[in-house]
Point group: C2
Chain length 345, copies 2
DNA sequence: TTGTAGGCGTTATCAT
DNA sequence: ATGATAACGCCTACAA
């Protein structure tokens, strides 16, 4: 009684021997797509043997042979930004039901890390990439696109690069925010933009200028944040305040930047919305419990992820597919951080 | 001029041909550990060729041959719980610098999903697992342990299973919370525990009972939440309130459960901390900006991840290593959600 | 120092 | 319907 493969995990060969068939037959029996090629009786015997041995197929060997992996990579710039976890779940909900695994990687907004992680994903033969780290100028993504890598952008885009993308409707969202403030009577509205090297930063910033001009207001109260973070939001507001205090409302590039404003308000004894109103962007979780509850522009985060996943599946199924962009609606959520401006001193 | 491998990604064989050596030599030249076996001149030629062709090693083939992958799996129950992203970063910070890739999977607290994802990780030959989904009774983890799978638990443990674990010091944290409330004059303190099927839920609950008894207080104001969520926290508080209103403080099983209390306060017009004080657990981000800012027990989330990663590396390097548990200190962070109890009516 | 050869576990293409 | 065979790309004794 010889066991050619003691102790170690059973292979297809072990299953085949136990079932008294050739490995090729065992392979066909275990794969639903080829199962009908063999007799029901044999198939049953093989499956029983596999069950009995606790056989688990070796995905690595399969990937080597087929150069496919049933895996896609999801590239996130900063997992601690509450915007992203719901997007991740949206992506997973679609991809999992289609039999794909999702490999999440976190780049921490670091180019080198991004390169290394994407390279690692590719060397593992992921079948596609969903990328949330795009910058307007992004040599790496450009290069991947030229190499024909299947990918979909989410939330942000790359300038002049025809890659499919799913994003929120930034312009409409910002316009709604400005309209809300103008309607409350604000006439001096500032914008703390996100990094202008990202499409979201630039688009929201441009939309802001257009919107305030449409209301006949000045469009020069704009400061750029170096990153999408609370600290950078606070720094930007401090910089603005050192230049002028002649504004009564702030449209923040996103919710984290808005939270940075809260820090500065606390620091300087300013009241929100009494002295200054603030609007965020994204409607990340827990904003309704802040002091004050943050008025913000909601984007459908789960849907964003789900749609990007569907789009990626389409791209995988139909490689030559022309890129298309999907814009998901953004809606203003009014809470307690916005009110009429204080009466002019 | 024959190109046996047009258009497709270059393989080691292509590099070898370009450099005029055998694949074995090319392999040795490209691997730092074997590079010294060959002449500097040859090594240089191979590396130049690899560079010129844009050669990227195929990790799948390498894994199949070596049955190693330089990859570890990180199993998270709920990525949208802000406790976890900082832990993820802690894990990555250690593992990346050691040349490992981290494959993050999200189980959504679903057993079936957990099984499928862990199976997928294993079939890809991950070299170890860091698991944050442990329940006290966890057949899957028990089975993996019996199969000798290298893993480390984080945040939670499995009952009577000698797997290395890194957790926060729940008992001390809860004791500090109760001491703080007792010191403020509270004598009727409730506990909304997390699921008692998790070690964190059970340990914190037991610690709560011990602590209140140590202060000579009643230990029967305890309700269990079905899950670690805001909704379940709210439901538990409603259930408690329907039983009795004779308490002035709540120790919540974690921050999300505490946020659920905030919902109920708003619903019923209760003032916090005026009518009821609340303490959370974990010190997830943004709690300082809540209304009121949440007093909570802070655990070193990044450190938790980093230590678990170090422990996993140790386990990988030294397979027979006896399991050890690491308990990281938890500290009370006093904010605005706790105050002296209202004067008795 | 370099080349040879075999095999990791699977699937695809033959042939039977 | 099933078996034989080769190959995916890489690594590593072993031989030279």
């Amino acid at each position: 009684m010889s066991n050619p493969n003691p102790s170690s995990a059973p292979t297809l060969r072990d299953v085949a021997e136990a079932a008294g068939v050739h490995t090729a037959t065992a392979s066909r029996a275990l794969n639903p797509k080829t199962r009908q090629q063999i007799s029901a009786e044999t198939a049953r015997r093989v499956m029983r043997a596999a069950q009995a041995l606790g056989y688990q197929p070796n995905s690595v060997a399969r990937s080597l042979k087929t150069s496919r992996s049933s895996t896609v990579g999801l590239v996130i710039p900063d997992l601690t930004n509450p915007l992203f976890p719901p997007i991740v779940r949206g992506v997973e909900s679609v991809l999992e039901s289609d039999g794909y695994n999702v490999w999440i990687v976190n780049t921490d907004n670091d180019e080198e890390r991004e390169r290394a992680k994407i390279e690692s994903l590719r060397s593992r033969r992921v079948e596609g990439l969903i990328v949330a780290t795009a910058r307007l100028d992004h040599p790496l993504l450009r290069q991947l696109h030229e190499q024909g890598v299947t990918m979909v952008l989410i939330n942000r885009q790359v300038r002049d690069l025809p890659i499919p993308a799913v994003t929120g409707d930034d312009a409409t969202g910002i316009a709604a925010a400005v309209r809300h403030l103008a309607g409350l009577g604000h006439t001096r509205i500032a914008h703390l933009s996100g990094p202008l090297g990202t499409s979201t930063g630039l688009v929201r910033s441009q939309a802001f200028r257009h919107a305030v001009r449409d209301h006949g207001l000045a469009d020069d109260l704009v400061v750029e944040c170096a990153r999408w973070s609370e600290d950078d939001g606070a720094a930007a507001l401090r910089a603005l305040l050192s230049r002028t205090t002649d504004f009564t409302a702030v449209v923040a590039g996103n919710d984290l930047i808005a939270l940075g404003c809260y820090d500065v308000f606390a620091e300087r004894g300013l009241s929100c919305p009494g002295d200054i109103s603030v609007i965020g962007f994204n409607d990340m979780p827990f904003l309704d419990k802040l002091r004050p509850p943050l008025t913000t522009v909601a984007v459908p985060r789960h849907e964003l992820g789900a749609e990007a996943a569907r789009m990626l599946l389409d791209c995988i199924d139909e490689p030559g597919r022309p890129a298309r962009s999907l814009l998901l609606p953004a809606t203003l959520v009014v809470r307690g951080s916005t009110a009429a401006p204080p009466r002019r001193a």
